[in-house]
Subunit: 584 residues, 2 copies
């Protein structure tokens, strides 16, 4: 038997017990005639003590132990003379009587401590050592607990987890598929699912009523910082329900997770329409941990000879509380921030509402203090506050103002990682117009149902049609979203025609779903949460990568595995494939 | 709101309540002035009644309802005049006051009944309709419950579920990989994992201590009846444990599932060595629901002039209780059975131990009744029994005798699907000799640990070395298996040398694991159960296909999805691939 106890469980109550422990040497130090070793496993750290006086031979063995060696010890639980209140096992130590080295270790390329000295690349290459660090392992433990609690919650509500296939057919619409050549069907390919969307809708046609799956999804996209080619969704679908049922069940799930995992009681989630979210925050995933809502002041700025505002479609302000004292340098920084190519504003107008009640702005040439006062009043500014104003084409400017708002949130420490603001964004537009391709695209997917009261607009003003679609946003991060689906064939045909799909094309791309719908599809809808993001939010992480055991880098590469890699000619021949790329 | 209740929950206690139900029309029939409709959903069936006398207009609507239409009704719970004791809702019916057709249905291509009139191919093409049938859906519900209970059990024992990547590197050893071309790294490929074996061992190096995952695995093999290109494993690994720990925890899991899912109490699992399993059953996955163990009678047959036995390495008998009365025809059938090319025996010898105590055999020319009596005694035969005897090269003959034993088990109805016999097969050989390639292969995988007492045989007699490897067998089906792994570098080197791997080759194929092992690998081992087979056994199914929502056929094809399929030239170009196969 390798151990009687873990390294995290012995307490003063175990005094004088003879125990066997196994684990890794966290550190060893000599002190007088003693050697102290911190022994670590997943469950904690226990101090071992080797006494030169009582057992010289053992000490000689112990002195050779290096960091990360795997050892087994037998010894007695004794009370520490100097206790460590920061360690659950800090009241005791093990006076070792027998030591077995199970495995030696080379010196690891970086320290296995909460704060490691290893850079990103090194830690990714030796991911198995990085995973030894307590905070990294804690992220994975959190992920396990969240997934497990999610399953419990959904199982209690009679959701059935159904595994859908990973090898499916390629559907050209949407993002790019990863494809898998079929050896048994040469020249043909499977695709890896971007989501089980069509399959879960089929399961509703099958009468499964309440489906869920925690499932890997795949998208062959150029990776941004927070994207992975494979990611995990909590995927759900329900029949005979309305939007309200889905919101209430998945708001319940979110609250349940906060409560059971983090012991935080979250109040009922506010709901905001997409239109309001854009108007007030310039974003469909607003961070509502702080206010600083947009105020439109176009009407107050007109006709004073300031051409920039006069010619702008939109003039919007945010009020930064207590920032009237911002220096020239700080204001220049903000101007530079909004002028960065990623944001793209032409400039930034500010109004300082000084503590003494006077008003100073970068547009004093055009506007009187009375004019500025009106802006300040509309924005709810008080003496000591700072107005920041952007103008231009409405949608673009709102997005820029949104970035500025988040930046100000950061500067004012209003985005506390330990505070959680959840909200539903609802009433998304059904369609998005693509200027380049000169056609409408489904914002969610072609099976999303329009709001019944907007169906009549499908012909006259498709862009104004709102969908029964919703997103869950926490702290400015889109955790997931979903929609009520179309289940009526006539409406589906109408939708395809708005999207410019001919019957034939619709049949080719979604044939099996359309066929299935002929045999009695129930009203249904669903939602999917991104598990990686959800865990990141719970863990207070900046990147989803840190809650994935073996993530890929921005080139889609697993540097530890050295994957992807070349394969043998034999493998290619069996698949009847040729690579049209110069060999390395 | 689409419903106040499901179709499975209303009882006599709900009498006179006004309810709303939604579901599918299972069947509709006219009877006198009434129309009766069976309304079905996932939860059950409720009878609806439309009364011509009290509501003629409604009846006119109802008479149009076809099979599988989706409807919503409002009505009152009333007591049935003729109750149906076979239906949980059989005491009541709904007297309908309002009917809404939610969706019509074309006539389905086969009946949605427990016993359908649809053939296999048709049902696979319309899998979404096949899944509507209660027994099919029940298999998927069972699968959900087994997976959920497995997670609960393992979570309680502090196992952590860790998701390992689906896009990994190709490892040439083992079965054939599915590969995935990387667009971002042209000419390079990911592979889909055949199992997370190496990754879970890395997690042990990372100190995760107890890992599990219910995970999809992929093998590009030519499919046999009971193989799928993607399948699901309950995959586990533990550190600081010995074989006994793994057997006890996973015997516990199996018992827990039988108890919670099927309410069956399974006694402690017998254990049998691989050697005994081969000797007594000719199989490493013996069906122990019945005895009929092999008896070796070579010693009793020699020197009587029967050359066939005399020249055979092995002569083995099984005793079929009560079969002395088998007719010539029946015996011929058995002879034909063992002579089939798949089995390949040269012939079958029988001995009838007649009820009157006399003995008659197909080899009476060579053996006296006294000789035969000795055989019968050794085989534990009693008057009325039948001995069936095969001979030849030991291993081959044992396999043939195993097939004959199973056939006799079938004929004698000894293989009851409602009886469950679980056992551990242990002490598997570490290595298997490949005559063709003239080298040893790892029977399990190259990281499986030999039994410590056999390590010294690695040089002198590698074929005799037993592994710390084990399989769980239920009713003759291998549910899963695993092993204790090598964690000592020296022993690993030795193992590679026995397998004929050079250092370089070992490094190329398993480099990252060997590197990881340099930094303090703990003693570890694991196991993996095939979830598909496990569910099949619980469900009493003949094929794993029936417990998979969207399975593939024997050509690896999903006929519903029509996958795999050709992809666009654009997709191929982006991947820098050319297909070397004539277009269809």
């Amino acid at each position: 038997m390798y151990r009687t106890n873990t390294c995290g469980e012995l307490r003063i109550a175990n005094l004088n017990q003879e125990v066997t422990l196994s684990g890794w040497v966290q550190k060893a130090r000599k002190f007088g005639g003693m050697i102290f070793v911190d022994l670590r496993d997943r469950y904690g750290i226990t101090q071992l003590v080797f006494n030169q006086e009582t057992n010289a031979a053992l000490c000689e063995q112990a002195v050779k132990l290096g960091r990360e060696w795997v050892i087994q010890v037998i010894g007695a639980v004794t009370e520490r003379s100097s206790k460590n209140p920061n360690l659950p096992t800090g009241d005791i130590e093990i006076t070792v009587s027998e030591l077995n080295v199970l495995n030696a270790s080379e010196t690891p390329p970086f320290t296995i401590e909460d704060e490691s000295d290893g850079g990103d690349d090194l830690r990714m290459k030796y991911r198995y050592l990085d995973l030894r660090r307590t905070p990294v392992r804690a992220n994975l433990e959190l992920r396990h607990r969240m997934a497990f609690a999610t399953r419990s919650y959904l199982n209690d509500l009679r959701f059935m987890e159904v595994e859908t296939p990973v090898l499916i057919g390629s559907t050209p619409e949407g993002a790019r598929d990863f494809i898998v050549p079929s050896r048994m069907n040469p020249g043909e390919f499977y695709a890896l699912p971007q989501s089980p969307q069509l399959l879960k809708q089929l399961l509703m046609v099958s009468g499964f009523d309440r489906y869920f799956q925690i499932v890997k999804c795949f998208r062959d996209e150029d990776l941004r910082a927070d994207r992975q080619p494979e990611f995990t969704q909590i995927d759900c679908e329900m029949s005979f329900i309305e939007q309200e049922d889905i919101l209430s069940i998945f708001e319940g799930l979110t609250k349940y997770l906060f409560e059971t995992i983090k012991n935080i009681d979250i109040p009922n989630f506010p709901r905001i329409t997409y239109a309001d979210a854009m108007r007030l925050y310039g974003s469909d995933k607003p961070d509502t941990r702080f206010g600083m809502q947009f105020v439109e002041i176009k009407d107050l700025t007109e006709g004073k000879g300031f051409g920039v505002f006069d010619s702008a479609e939109y003039v919007g302000a945010i009020c930064a509380k207590g920032c009237a004292s911002y220096t020239r340098k700080q204001l220049d920084e903000l101007t530079d921030f909004v002028k960065r190519p990623q944001i793209g504003a032409k400039g930034l107008v500010y109004v300082r509402y000084e503590a003494d009640g006077s008003l100073k702005s970068s547009v004093d040439k055009f506007y009187s203090p009375e004019d500025l006062k009106k802006w300040a009043e509309k924005a709810g500014a008080k003496p000591g506050d700072l107005l920041l104003i952007l103008c231009g084409e409405t949608e673009k400017t709102q997005k820029q103002l949104s970035e500025l708002r988040l930046e100000m949130g950061n500067r004012l420490n209003l985005r506390d990682k330990n505070k959680y603001n959840c909200l539903w964004v609802i009433d998304f537009p059904l369609l998005e117009y693509d200027e380049e391709l000169n056609r409408y695209f489904a914002k969610h997917h072609p099976f999303t149902s329009p709001k019944p009261e907007d169906i009549s607009l499908l012909d006259s003003n498709p862009g104004a049609v709102r969908a029964n679609a919703y997103d869950l946003v926490i702290n400015g991060v889109e955790i997931g979203g979903g929609s009520i689906r179309i289940y009526n064939s006539e409406l589906q045909k109408k939708m395809f025609s708005v999207l410019g799909f001919g019957d034939e094309q619709a049949q080719a791309q979604f044939g099996f779903l359309l066929n299935a719908f002929k045999y009695g599809a129930p009203p249904h809808g669903g939602i999917a949460f991104g598990l990686d993001r959800f865990v990141s939010i719970f863990a207070g992480l900046d990147s989803i990568r840190d809650c994935i055991a073996f993530p890929k880098n921005n080139s889609g590469r697993d540097v530890m595995f050295d994957a992807p890699s070349t394969i043998t000619q034999e493998q290619l021949d069996e698949l009847h494939l040729k690579v049209d790329w110069p060999k390395k």
